[in-house]
C-alpha cells in the first residue's frame, strides 16, 4: 500500500491521473481489492480532515492575532453573579462601540473605574457612586464620565482632596445598588455615598414573574408587612439556557476576540428580525453543552466575586457547583438577615398615594391609569423602603447618603412625582436629594440633542451632570463643615 503511494508520489505531475490528483488515489487503480480501495479512500478522507483542521487552527490563530493587534473584539464585559445578577468581568479590556465609543479596562475589583486602594489616604474625602449604565458611562472614555469629571471639579473647587469611586453597573436597580453597598462599597469607608437614581428604577425592585426584567435580586413584602430579599427570580434566570451558555463560555468571552465579536453582533448583523430570537435561543441551548465539553480542559473562569474566593473557583456552572452553592447561600443568608435588621430600624410610613381624579367619572382611560398608578405606587413604596434602609446602612458605616435624580423627559409624570417623594423622604430621613432633572438643560424635541447619544449621555451631557453634582456636593459639604465648626 505504501509503495502504491510512493509510486504516485514519484510520478511527474502531468502523468498523475486526475482522480489521483484529487486525492482519491484508490479509484485510479481499477482491479485493486475493495478493502484496499476503502482503506485508501479513508486515508485520503483523513488527510482532507487533517488539513482542514490545520487550516481552521491556522485561521483562528491568525484572526485572533489580527483582532488583538487592532484592539478589536473586546466587546464582552458582563459576568453572571449569583448574588447581584451580573457584574463586570474584572481586569478585562472592553471596547464599547454600540452607543458612543470607549476602550477601557475594568479594574481588578470589577468596576469601570481606575484601580484603587481599600484603605483611604489621610485627609481624603471619598465619594462612592452607585448607579446604572448612566453612571457606568461606558459610552464615553473613563475620564469623561461625570464621576471622574466631578472628582476633578471638586478638587479644583476646594482646598480638600476628593476621591470619587464608581461602583455603577449597567441595568442595576435600587436593590442591586443596596446589596452592592452592603457587600462591597462600605468596605472602602466612603465619606459620601451617592446613589444616582434613574427613571424606571422603582419598577425593577419588587418581586416579579416578568421574564423580561434583567436578572437581579428583588424584594418582596409579606402579608406581615416585612420586607425580604429574594433570589428566586435570579435563580430561575441562572437556570435558563442562555445564562448557562454565558456561564460556560466565560473563558471564551473573556479571552477570545472572535467569540466576543460574534456574541456582540448577536451572531449576525444586528437587526430587529423576527427570526432572530428563536434562532438564537435554539443556538444557545444546543451549543451550550458542546461548548461546555470543549472547554472542560481549559483554565477555569476567574473568581466570581471576592466574597467567595475562600471556597475556590467554581467550575462554570453556578447552579451545579456545590462549593459555590454553599458559599452563595451563606452570603445570601447574611444579606437577608442584615436586610431584616435594617428593615426593623426604619419607619414604615409610605409616600402619599397618587390620587385619581374621579370627578368626571371613571372612564376606561382613568381605570387603566389608576391600575398603572397603583402598580407604580406599590413599586415606589418598596423602593422608598430600600432607600431608607440604604440610608441607615450608610449612616452606620459613617457615610453620608445622597441621591442624585437623573434627568428625564417632562412627560414622564410618574418620575416627577417620584422626585417629589424622594425630596420629602430626604427631608424626613436626613439625606440630600440633588435634583439634576430640574437643573439639566431642556432641549426642544425637534432639535439635535447634544447631551445624549441615544439613551445615554455624551461627553457634554456628562460634563453638565458633573457641574450639577460637584456644585451641590461642595455646597453640602461646606455647609456641614461650617455647622460643625
Amino acid at each position: 500500500m505504501r509503495s502504491a503511494i510512493k509510486d504516485i508520489e514519484k510520478k511527474p505531475l502531468s502523468e498523475v491521473h486526475s482522480s489521483e490528483r484529487l486525492g482519491d488515489k484508490s479509484l485510479a487503480k481499477p482491479g485493486r481489492s475493495y478493502s484496499h480501495r476503502l482503506l485508501m479512500a479513508g486515508k485520503s478522507l483523513i488527510s482532507i480532515l487533517l488539513s482542514s483542521v490545520a487550516c481552521l487552527v491556522l485561521l483562528v490563530a491568525l484572526l485572533e492575532f489580527i483582532l488583538a493587534i487592532f484592539g478589536l473584539g473586546n466587546d464582552e464585559y458582563l459576568k453572571i453573579d449569583p448574588i447581584l445578577g451580573s457584574t463586570h468581568l474584572d481586569k478585562k479590556l472592553v471596547t464599547f462601540r454600540f452607543e458612543g465609543y470607549s476602550r477601557e479596562k475594568i479594574n481588578k475589583d470589577g468596576d469601570r473605574d481606575y484601580e484603587r486602594k481599600l484603605l483611604k489616604a489621610p485627609g481624603v474625602t471619598r465619594i462612592a457612586f452607585l448607579g446604572d449604565s448612566m453612571t457606568e458611562a461606558a459610552q464615553v472614555p473613563l475620564d469623561c464620565s461625570f464621576v471622574r469629571v466631578s472628582e476633578r471639579k471638586l478638587n479644583a473647587m476646594s482646598a480638600g482632596t476628593f476621591e470619587t469611586m464608581n461602583f455603577a453597573m449597567a441595568s442595576y436597580g435600587t436593590v442591586q445598588e443596596y446589596v452592592q453597598f452592603l457587600l462591597r462599597v462600605r468596605a472602602y469607608k466612603p465619606d459620601v455615598t451617592v446613589l444616582v437614581y434613574n427613571y424606571g428604577d422603582s419598577g425593577e425592585n419588587l418581586s416579579t414573574s416578568n421574564e423580561d426584567v434583567a436578572p437581579r435580586p428583588l424584594v418582596s413584602i409579606g402579608n406581615d408587612g416585612k420586607l425580604d430579599l429574594t433570589f428566586d427570580f435570579l435563580d430561575r434566570w441562572i437556570a435558563l439556557p442562555q445564562t448557562q451558555f454565558a456561564l460556560k463560555t466565560e473563558w471564551l468571552r473573556r479571552h477570545s476576540h472572535i467569540v466576543q465579536t460574534l456574541l456582540a453582533s448577536d451572531l449576525f448583523f444586528r437587526s430587529n428580525s423576527k427570526w432572530y430570537s428563536p434562532i438564537c435561543r435554539s443556538i444557545y441551548s444546543s451549543v451550550s453543552p458542546v461548548i461546555s465539553w470543549l472547554i472542560a480542559g481549559l483554565p477555569e473562569p476567574p473568581e466570581l466575586a471576592p466574597y467567595y474566593r475562600a471556597v475556590g473557583r467554581p467550575a462554570g456552572d453556578l447552579a451545579a457547583n456545590q462549593a459555590v452553592r454553599l458559599d452563595t447561600s451563606r452570603v445570601r443568608r447574611r444579606l437577608r438577615a442584615e436586610t431584616a435588621r435594617l428593615d426593623s430600624l426604619i419607619a414604615h410610613n409610605l409616600p402619599d398615594n397618587p390620587r385619581i381624579d374621579v370627578s368626571q367619572g371613571l372612564s376606561a382611560e382613568t381605570l387603566a391609569y389608576r391600575t398603572y398608578a397603583q402598580m407604580h405606587y406599590r413599586n415606589f413604596a418598596a423602593t422608598a423602603r430600600v432607600l431608607k434602609m440604604l440610608n441607615t446602612a450608610c449612616r452606620e458605616a459613617g457615610s453620608q447618603f445622597v441621591i442624585v435624580t437623573l434627568p428625564a423627559a417632562d412627560s414622564f409624570k410618574f418620575y416627577l412625582r417620584e422626585i417629589q417623594h424622594l425630596k420629602k423622604l430626604g427631608e424626613a430621613e436626613g439625606f440630600q436629594v440633588i435634583d439634576a432633572n430640574e437643573s439639566f438643560p431642556r432641549v426642544n424635541i425637534l432639535e439635535k440633542n447634544p447631551y445624549y447619544y441615544g439613551a445615554h449621555f455624551t461627553k457634554r451631557g456628562h460634563a453638565v451632570m458633573a457641574d450639577i453634582i460637584s456644585g451641590s456636593l461642595i455646597r453640602m459639604l461646606s455647609t456641614q463643615a461650617s455647622q460643625s465648626r
Partner: protein, 495 residues
Amino acid sequence: MLFNSFEYIIFLAAAVCLYWVMPRQAKAIFLVAASYFFYTYTIKAYGLLLLLLTLANYLVGLALQATNGEKAKRLVLIGGITLNLGILALFKYTNFILDSINVVLDSINVSAKHGCGISDLPIILPLGISFFVFEFIHYLTDVFKGSAAIRNPVRFALFASFFPSQIAGPIKRYQDFDSQLDPLPRLDTEKLHRGLWLIAQGLYKKVALGDNLARIVRAGFDNPGLMGTTEGWICALAFTFQIYFDFSGYTDIGRGSAMLFGFSLPENFNLPYIASSLRDFWRRWHISLSTWLRDYLYIPLGGSKSEGFRTFANLMITMLLGGLWHGASWTFVIWGAFHGLGLAVNRRWEQSIERSARLKRIAASLPLRCAAYGLTFLTVVLGWVIFRAKDLPEATGVYSAMFSLRASSSECTVLDFAVNSPLPAAISIYLILQSTVLIWKHSHDLNAPLPGSMFKLARATPPYAIANALAFVAVLILTLSLSPAELQPFIYFQF
C-alpha cells in the same frame, strides 16, 4: 430587505441552495418568485406596481416589435416612455413639485393671503423605482431601434425584477442579461468562490468603512456651525469615501449575489477617485448610469456632434436630469449643474489642448498631470457636499466651515468620531487586505507552467475550498468586529 441584514443572509443562502437543486425548467420562475419575495418583504403593495409596470413594458415591447411604420412605432415608444416617466414622476417628484409651488406662492404672499398652500401627498417612494424605470426605457428604446424584444414573459419578468440588481442597480442592459438565460448558467465553483468574495468585500466596504464614516459625516452635517476648517474638510472627505464604499459595497454584494446564481452583472466602479478629469471620473463612477445617460439622453439630444453652445446645452441638460434622477431636491439639481458645468469646462480645455501643440506638451508634463488628478478630486469632493446636504443652508454651512479658516467649537464631535472609533483599524485592515490581494495576484500567474499548475492542483482539492470558505468567514468576522452601532441603509436606496 437590506443586503447587510440577517434576513438577507438567510434568504440568499436558501435561494442559492434551492436554485441549484431545482430542475432547469423551473429555475427562472424560481428566481422571479425569489425576487418578488425580496422586493415585497417590507412593503407588499409595491410588488403590484412592479408587476404592472413589468406587464405594461412587456406588452409595449411586443407591440413595438409587431408595429410596422416608423411613425406608429415612434408613437408606441413615446407612449411607453411616457408611462414609465409618468410613474417615476408621480412617485418621486410630486411632492417636490408641490413644495416648489408652495415656495413660489409663499414668496409672492399668495398662500398667506388666500390660504391656498398645497400640502404634501403621503407618497412613499418605491424602492429601486429609478433603476428599473431606466431599465424599461432602455429596453423599449433598444427594441424601437431594432433589437429583438423578449418574447418569454418569465425571462422579461426576471430581467425586470432580478433581486441582486433590483434596488440600486447596476442598471442592466437587457441584451447582456437575457443572453445569460440561453442556456441558463451551469454551476461553476469558480463563480461561486468569486461571488462569495465579492459579497465579503462589499460587506466590509459597507459596514466597516462606509457606516463608520457615516458617523463623522452625520456629526458634521448635523451641526456645520460647530466645525472648524479641519473638521469641515474631514467631513467632506469622509462623505466622499462614505458614498464610494457604500455604493460600491452595495454593487459588490449585488454582483456577488448574482454570481452565486451563475449570472454576471456589469461593473459599476473603476477606481473613480484616481480620475484625471471630470470626464474620466464619469467613466469610472456609477458606470451603468453614466453610460445610460450617454446612450439614452446625451446622444439623442445631439451629443457633441455640433460645436459650441449646443454641446454645452446638451451636457447641462444631461447632467441636470442626471442630478434630478438622484433625488427630488434642489440640492441634486445644483449638483447636476455643477458637474455639467465642470464637464463643459473640461471639454473646452481638452479642445484647446487638441488645437495647440504647446498646450499639449504642457498638459503632458508631470506637474500638470498631478494637478489634473488633484483638481478633479477636489471638484468631486466639493460636489459631494451639496449632494449630501439636505438643503442649501446646510451645504453653505459646510462650505463655510471648509473655507473660513476658523477653529472648531469644543462641542464638535467630527474629530472624535474619526479617532475614537473602529475607523482607523478598519482603514488599516482594508489597506493590508487590498495590498495582500494585489501582491497575490501579481505573484501568481495562473497560466504559468510550474507554480501555476501547482496552484491549480491545490485549487482542485477540498482543503483549498475549505480554506477559502474559512477565509470568507474570517473576513465576515472582521467586518462584524468593526461595525458601528447603527445599521445604516444604503445611500442609493433612497434614489
